[in-house]
């Protein structure tokens, strides 16, 4: 055992900052509006955390999200029968359209086979059932991604003709990144105003039946990294190219519209499937005077949007799961205080844009711009989560 009382290493500590919504909550968030029943396989606590801090729709929308309540003896004895019995009992009472099982640390440690359990439940109930082996040790981005990919693999299986108009599926949409501030509707409006049809939105404001129409879209617009799993599946299965970017501000949103039109020509104009990471900065930038912290695609997109509007260089710190191949030159992946604090000591840094719960680690010489993020501070700062889809003035006025 190596004991180190004094040296400054990364011991995965957070003296004061928050932690992101976990993968298991991400699963529930992704599936929330689709009429299914999500079951968190956990002893206690995960369900109240989810419905208190991770799910702003909980009070007004009666989605079926429940907890298994696994006990010590059931875990030690590997008693999956209790889970299977209880899920079937609840399904018989409530008739969900599908069932999803999501895992937490103890089921991971005892090696719970979620896919096998899902198969047993599906056979006994006739209700489609998905086992999603989360373990509560990753952020919501991974959980949402796993859920959307599993959902696509389960329900989106048949090819269909493309829509007449240029069309997209929006992938990676949950309140954890989009809150309930009107930004999802605003994205729809933006696309519709530019004669681009939205076939499906994964997974806010849409139905399971509509998601099945996804193969008829020309392009997948991946608006958070949580949409990447479904995007990869739909690209491989149906040859739909994907574009990685979230609409922010007029200039950057216009670029997204143009990129969608270009990609929609596939396969007419291109032999190979051509995906695009529009939110990655293609130039070699200077030292950033602005840094933002958050989810990968949202942060990178907002950084590009601010650059277009101000001409200033914006760096990002991505604190959730992200593909390093998508990173801009000025982007870093960092999650713990021990990783974050040294990056923020950059003497050129003038502004830090991040969730207010990051403020305690912001250097005093740097102006902190509070931009709430449901996936980090939950419900605390709803009034600091503006819809920035087309209008960035809320931020620009503070720079």
């Amino acid at each position: 055992m190596y004991i180190n009382y004094n040296l400054n290493h990364n011991y995965q500590t957070a003296r004061i900052i928050s932690t992101y919504t976990a993968d298991v909550s991400g699963v529930c968030s992704a599936l929330f509006e689709l009429g299914g029943m999500s079951v968190i396989h956990d002893a206690s606590g995960c369900n109240s955390t989810y419905n208190t801090h991770d799910e702003p729709r909980w009070y007004d929308f009666d989605s079926m999200v429940f907890l298994s309540g696994i006990s010590e003896m059931e875990a030690i004895m590997g008693n999956d029968e209790k889970l299977i019995h209880d899920v079937i009992s609840a399904a018989e009472q409530l008739s969900p359209k599908f069932i999803a099982l999501a895992g937490t640390p103890i089921p991971m440690m005892v090696g719970t086979d979620f896919k096998a359990i899902a198969s047993v439940i599906e056979k006994q109930t006739g209700i489609p059932c998905m086992g999603i082996p989360t373990n509560g040790m990753h952020t919501y981005v991974q959980g949402v991604s796993m859920a959307m990919q599993t959902l696509a693999e389960k329900f989106v299986t048949e090819s269909m003709p493309k829509t007449k108009k240029i069309s997209v599926n929006l992938l990676g949409v949950t309140p954890l990144d989009f809150s309930l501030n009107g930004s999802v509707q605003h994205m729809h409006d933006l696309l519709n105003q530019n004669q681009i049809e939205v076939v499906s939105c994964w997974c806010m404001g849409d139905s399971l039946e509509n998601l099945k129409l996804a193969p008829s879209a020309h392009v997948n617009l991946v608006v958070s990294y949580a949409g990447i799993g479904a995007a990869e599946y739909l690209a491989k299965k149906f040859g739909i190219p994907y574009l990685i970017a979230r609409p922010y501000g007029k200039a950057f949103s216009s670029e997204i519209i143009r990129a969608i039109r270009n990609l929609s020509d596939y396969p007419k104009n291109q032999k190979n499937l051509q995906n695009s990471v529009l939110c990655r900065n293609q130039e070699i930038p200077g030292n950033p005077e602005i840094i933002m912290i958050g989810e990968g695609i949202s942060s990178e997109s907002l950084a590009r949007a601010i650059e277009r509007e101000t001409g200033k260089t914006v760096g990002t710190i991505i604190a959730t799961e992200y593909d390093t191949n998508f990173l801009s030159e000025n982007a870093r992946i960092a999650r713990d205080e021990a990783e974050l604090i040294p990056i923020l000591k950059n003497p050129d840094l003038k502004y830090l844009i991040a969730d207010p719960l990051y403020q305690p680690i912001c250097p005093k010489s740097v102006k902190f711009i509070r931009l709430g993020h449901e996936g980090f501070s939950g419900r605390i700062y709803h009034d600091l989560m503006p819809d920035l889809t087309e209008d960035l003035h809320w931020i620009l006025n503070q720079l």
């Binding site: 004094n6 109240s48 208190t52």
Partner: protein, 445 residues
């Protein structure tokens, strides 16, 4: 976009009458639903009662999320830190190293040295066989100026012995040192409560008459005052989940445990007060006048409230059946209890209600159907507690948890005042019931 997808649901499995209910568990244990009423305290709130202390949770990210934001919503993030357990720690089995080094790293970064640190380990430590005894030994050796105690966020153990709530209320006093000056025979504590006991309670007035100093953890402004509680000669508790704390203190500090369960029964209160007076070595005062006052208040309130249905949930009071019985005996129209189980203290009241009001409804709060049952009631309904208010979607409710520190005849009078206020004044149910930990911190939500 938002909508309710509620449909007609038959109530079997989620509701029964008390006639058909079994004691103490009226419902099957299956999948669990968690409703939006969040006013009850959790182990984070309770730990903050130790003055000048710091909490460190050592768990997986999914478990940390709820507790981190509990502290943030209370405005107490400065007294709260975390160490995140990741997959590689489980695979490498280095939880001891992570715990010791992580705690050390946090201590190094804190702006002020805490007097005490409450370290919360998790289900993972238990399952992987982490040697937490070694960890605490090393930390105590290296930081002799800081008191450490072991707390637990291991809900997987909730059906194996003491519940996490019972353990937390016990560990709250585990930081006491052995008093150097010995016991003070005129000093007593009230232990085990999240909310402070009302100072006008008979528990305080009798202690005053007998010349006893009665202290509760909420009275302690600093760590020294908290340590001073160890000098008491007796501990008094009235919440069943605090009894384990009293038993630990009786063994460790030889402090007498006085257990006077919360009750709405005049006889039960009288019995407790008689025992209390005997311990204090004073004559039992005559409570006839105060009992008459309770009856008078109940009578006048009944005229106001008339036959308005009253529904009680278990989060508002430790003794929902005792309260129901009191109100029914005073001719109020109590029609429903929301509870998933009952404590042994309720057995006599359960039997009485079964015999005298067999149609009284018992509703579960965590059964899955409760998610889908329409949240409404056809006419004005008075709810006692947040869960009842949530399920009924009524603005007429008493917004309290854990009996709000009420005890005895004074507690009954205070409660009746709240009932009157709840009947006369609407509340913002959606806003209020979602606030975590009623009465803790600054509650910025």
């Amino acid at each position: 976009m938002l909508k309710r997808i509620g449909k007609e649901i038959d109530l079997s499995g989620a509701m029964t009458t008390i006639r058909d209910a079994t004691f103490p568990s009226p419902f099957q244990s299956e999948l669990e639903y968690s409703c939006s009423a969040r006013g009850t305290w959790n182990i984070v709130h309770t730990g903050f009662l130790v003055p000048e202390s710091h909490e460190i949770f050592v768990c997986a990210a999914g478990c940390l999320r709820g507790v981190v934001l509990t502290a943030a919503e209370c405005g107490l993030s400065g007294r709260f830190s975390t160490i995140e357990i990741r997959e590689e720690n489980v695979l490498n089995g280095d939880l001891e190293e992570l715990l010791i080094n992580g705690v050390s790293d946090i201590i190094r970064q804190l702006p002020e040295r805490p007097k005490a640190i409450l370290i919360y380990t998790s289900c993972i430590h238990h399952f992987i066989g982490c040697d937490t005894t070694l960890c605490y030994k090393k930390l105590r050796e290296h930081y002799p100026d800081i008191d450490f105690t072991d707390c637990y966020m291991n809900p997987i153990m909730r059906k194996s012995g003491l519940t996490p709530d019972q353990i937390m209320r016990r560990q709250l006093y585990s930081l006491w040192h052995q008093p150097e000056s010995g016991q003070n025979p005129r000093k007593m504590n009230i232990i085990g409560n999240n909310l402070p006991t009302q100072k006008n309670s008979e528990l305080y007035t009798l202690a005053g008459i007998a010349g006893y100093d009665l202290t509760e953890i909420h009275d302690c402004k600093n760590y020294a005052q908290y340590q001073d509680m160890a000098c008491a000669s007796a501990n008094l508790c009235y919440n069943p989940v605090a009894k384990a704390a009293g038993e630990m203190l009786a063994e460790k500090y030889h402090q007498k445990l006085l257990y006077f369960p919360v009750s709405y029964s005049y006889q039960e209160i009288q019995k407790s007060l008689a025992e209390y007076a005997n311990f204090l070595n004073i004559p039992l005062p005559d409570y006839a006048d105060v009992i008459a006052k309770c009856d008078l208040k109940a009578e006048s309130l009944k005229k106001l409230i008339a036959d308005t249905p009253i529904m009680i949930d278990y989060t508002a009071t430790i003794r929902p059946l005792s309260l129901a019985r009191f109100l029914l005996e005073h001719h109020f129209n109590v029609t429903r209890i929301y509870a998933d189980g009952f404590t042994q203290e309720e057995f006599q009241d359960f039997n009485w209600l079964q015999e005298n009001y067999p149609d009284l409804e018992i509703f579960a709060t965590i059964q899955v159907k409760m998610r889908m049952i329409p949240r409404e009631y056809s006419k004005k309904t008075l709810a006692i507690g947040q869960k009842a208010a949530y399920f009924l979607n009524t603005p007429y409710f008493i917004n309290i948890i854990e009996n709000n520190g009420f005890w005895g005849f004074s507690g009954i009078l205070e409660f009746l005042e709240l009932l009157e206020d709840a009947f006369l004044h609407e509340k913002d149910t959606k806003k209020l019931v979602q606030i975590k930990g009623v009465g803790c911190g600054t509650a910025c939500i």
